[in-house]
Symmetry: C2
Subunit: 527 residues, 2 copies
Amino acid sequence: MTASTQTPEMHPQRWGDPALAAPLPESARGLVDLAFGVHERPAVEQVTLPPCGLSDDLLAELREILGEEHVLADDATRRLRTRGKSTPDLLLARAGDLSDAPDVVVRPADHDEVAALLAWATRAGVAVVPFGGGTCVTGGLVARREGFAGVVSLDLVRLKRLIAVDRESMTATLEPGLRGPEAEALLAAEGLTIGHYPQSFEYATIGGFAATRSSGQSSAGYGRFDALVVALRVATPVGELRLGHAPASAAGPDLRQLVLGSEGAFGVITEVTVRVRKAPAVRVYEGWRWPSFAAGAAAVRRLVQAGLQPTVLRLSDEAETAINLADPGAIGGSDAAGCLMLVGHEGDRAAVDARRTAVEALLTGLGGIPLGEEPGRSWAHGRFAAPYLRDAMLDAGVLVETLESATFWSGLERLHADVRNALEASLGQPVMVLAHISHVYETGCSLYFTVAAPEGEEPLARWRAAKAAATDAMVAAGATITHHHAVGTDHRPWLADEIGELGVAVLRAVKRELDPAGVLNPGVLVP
Amino acid sequence: MTASTQTPEMHPQRWGDPALAAPLPESARGLVDLAFGVHERPAVEQVTLPPCGLSDDLLAELREILGEEHVLADDATRRLRTRGKSTPDLLLARAGDLSDAPDVVVRPADHDEVAALLAWATRAGVAVVPFGGGTCVTGGLVARREGFAGVVSLDLVRLKRLIAVDRESMTATLEPGLRGPEAEALLAAEGLTIGHYPQSFEYATIGGFAATRSSGQSSAGYGRFDALVVALRVATPVGELRLGHAPASAAGPDLRQLVLGSEGAFGVITEVTVRVRKAPAVRVYEGWRWPSFAAGAAAVRRLVQAGLQPTVLRLSDEAETAINLADPGAIGGSDAAGCLMLVGHEGDRAAVDARRTAVEALLTGLGGIPLGEEPGRSWAHGRFAAPYLRDAMLDAGVLVETLESATFWSGLERLHADVRNALEASLGQPVMVLAHISHVYETGCSLYFTVAAPEGEEPLARWRAAKAAATDAMVAAGATITHHHAVGTDHRPWLADEIGELGVAVLRAVKRELDPAGVLNPGVLVP
């Protein structure tokens, strides 16, 4: 089966479906006082791209391999494949800079055409940037151009099949170009779900989820995407990898875990087999209030360590709760005290009831105040909307961006304080730093920050300094530099802090083996 | 804290504590009709070792690095560090062949001494075999000798500290030389447990669990050992790896998963941080009977896919049930029909009661017949005893060995039939092939085979042919070549079937980077 839906292309300077772009909600007007003013910006059609740098001979070879209609060098297509959707990406595009445009966009049909393309790129010395949903927020779609005969955007838009469903084993094999809703629609027809709902869900793809170790809002119940993957097929310039013969194995190191998180630098994922679940009959999301972030975090930890984690578990800190960020449609419209926790249960009626009862007993015993289903409904309604709000804020001259980390429970308080302090110190007043626990584990959790500040005269430089200060603070606190946004180019300077110089050397050795000419997403991931 | 208990050394020709060796139980006498006769065997003291091949200069250098008393070249010590405990290992030792003895056994004190030793070995061109509990059953302690100035057994017996406990994060950092009971005793003093109980538990070590991706009898509840590891410290000839800053990360490929399963070929694990749990207040193990293996397997699958997996879940097939293998103390003493399932619950009283009620409801609804706690008690009593029984069978001229695999649920029936058929065809009649599901996942399970046949004139050759036929059958069925016994040298010929030639090339590239002189366990893991 192949996906039949068609998600619209995202505007090069904005997030999502252009039809859904909206002005800043009235309730958020107060936040805009942060802004000093709005920069003048050219319309995207007026932004000139560098000319396609690929020679006519190489373009002809590409057309030979993939067919005329799947080799696209027009400016409109190239604009749509330029960079990802981080705030720096948007600031550049809004400032009229699309200089990182690929020379050409190619659309292979299947694994064999991907493999042929990589072999060609290796011979021709052309850099290849795999492109799924284009939702990357860490610069993973900007390849180094120096030393190459050109840059090709390898658009996976034609690899959209549901290849197999194994109902007994509860697995499904999917092609990488399927966007979140497309994959879920194909599985829903079988009564199944992956249950992976990151904020980028509407645009991001199965291949991207795997290549970046994505984690969804329901990860407490369904697991991170990397934990759902049981098998992978990968095309590399030197051949094919097929990994995963069983749910678990002791046949040496787990090479699936080298491909997960490889961000297109080791190969192109062409098939992903994931664990699937029965589509839930019941979904209940409800709110709880805690007197402080520390009290709420302790409750989250107790829940998870008691084996009672619900499907969704999120805890906003005081600042985030006060401006109601969990409900982007009503942002700024509340002035709630304490900290908002969102607890979601999905499954059969009996399982949901049993889990809900146990969770309620524990949370009530710890002093949580139940707020009913209204906060949960608001959150569920707006769960993919935040990036639209960011566009509206950027339109109003407010710099908005998110960043995230994860640590063990004993390090949470320090991580929360240190990253917030680093951002505040770097950006100066006025600034808003909001945070929530977004993903939970028995041994720790992730921490997701949202930052808003006036753009100022040099918004990009302002943000880059703040991001560096925040990442330095994560490293100093012993936390990971990213829990679910991958390395890309933005986090690359800190990768050696994460895995050591020797770890980086191991990645380089793997890359040399699989990509001897270094054409795969050069400059991304591997320092 | 350091472990204070002292497990006795294992006899070079037998399993476990010599004081616990026992003759074949009366109940098992009937099985011995399989045997044609008993081979004459020399006592171990009469077995000559090859002389220590390490030059006096190199021995002097070793003594300089580690101290006189931690460099042991006497025959008694070398015998104790020769090979592991597979049936082929025992057959060779019983036949008077200890030709794989290391030249010298060294006992570094800590990470720094391990690192110094590896740097020395690299300079000197000496092969290094890390040694933990010596329980390996796949030839992982037999390094290639050709091309090296000698072979050193790196005994981790002095690295036995519990380095840290983080009660908030529920993690513990342990040194690799701690045996299972030593680690559990140190944690029990804090009211904690790892919950990792493989059959080798009494001898195997924390480092070995990690290096071989061990899986315990309670893996349904606590998880495989590789799933429990959150951080690792590794000494390599070219430097140190410190991996794991959070429960999960998207900072590129997960290099912890390259170290787990690396079997000493990439480095020596010197610290392991694992998830720990509260020591359970209640342990209940009970039996269930199913009319057939297929019916029982379907029930296992339903349990796990419903999210109701107990702490222990094991299902014997008809043959294994009939001879009562789940209770080695009474083996052959029963003649039970159908298939025995063992279901164990551990935890707080309330959690155990709730889980037990839900499991009972599901199993009863599927037609399972509850057998009460007696079968569970017998299993728990004998859970580490099977290797002693193997010694008694070998004493009586019966070739006994185990092997295991794992596959997705849809492949279970074929895997069960094909491996059994391959073993029966290779060994001829009389032969006994028994199997059980030993580890379960939502998407599949492991299958653990026990084989008994007359030794015949050439027991080693007989077994190697049977093992090859069984492994070929696993590969043909699309299953993994090992779920929890690692690769060693015995599974190495099939590793390319598991991960492809390109996967093997990746392992070689990693090894070249971390171990440029190739001195780490040469010939093990990497083909």
